[in-house]
Amino acid sequence: MTFDFRRALTVLATHEVEFIVVGGISAILQGAPVVTLDLDIVHRRTPDNVRRLLAALRSIDARYRHDPRGLVPEAQHLLGPGHNLLQTTCGPLDALGAIDEGLSYDDLLPDSEEMRVGPDLTARVLSLRRLVELKAAAGRPKDVAVLPTLRATLVELERTRDA
C-alpha cells in the first residue's frame, strides 16, 4: 500500500470536487506533529458534486475497505450522511457524508479555509480550532489521546500569528 495524500487531493481538485479536509490531515496541514494513515474529507452532498466525487474516486480505484468483495462506491452511498471508508491507489480515503452529530459540508464551511498544499494545489481545510472543539465534544478515547498535541499546536499557531 502506498500513501500519497497530495495525489489524492490533486485528483479531487482536478475533478472540481467540493470537500473539506478534516481529521488528522487537517491537523497536520496546520502544523500538528501527528501521524495518520488516512485522508478524511467531508464532501458536499449535492448530486452534481457527488457525480464529480464518483469520477475522482473511480480514477483512483476506490473500493470499500471493509468489504471483502471490493465493492466500489455508488452515488446513493455518497449522497447519504454515512462514512465511506475507502481504499484507493493513493492510500485510505474516507469520504464522510457528515461527522459528529450530523455536521455536513455546509455546516463546516464557515470554519474552514482554503490552504495552499502544493505548487498549484489548494484544498479547503477545517480550522484547527474547530477540529479541537469537535474532538473534545466527541470525547472518544482516540480523540482525547490527540487533544493535548492539537491544543498545544493551536497555542503555538496563535502565538506565531500574533508575533
Binding site: 495524500f5 506533529p33 494545489l121
Partner: protein, 72 residues
Amino acid sequence: MMKVMSDEVEPGREEAPFVADGLAAGAYNEEGVDLTLIRMFLRLTPAERLDEASSSANGIEELRALQVPASR
C-alpha cells in the same frame, strides 16, 4: 531612531545559558507535549507537512512489511 540588526548581544541583555536537558529547558508544556516538535513542524509549509504525512505513513507501512511473525 532606526534599529540595526546585529549578531552582537546588547549590553546588559546577555543570552540565556544553553540548557541541554529538554525537561529543564521547558521544552514540554504542562500536558507533556514536546513543543520543540510543534515549532519544528510549524516552520514547514503546509505542502511540506503534507509530504511529511505521506512519508510517515509509508514509513509505517514499510515497518509493517518488515515485521516477522513471532515464533511460537
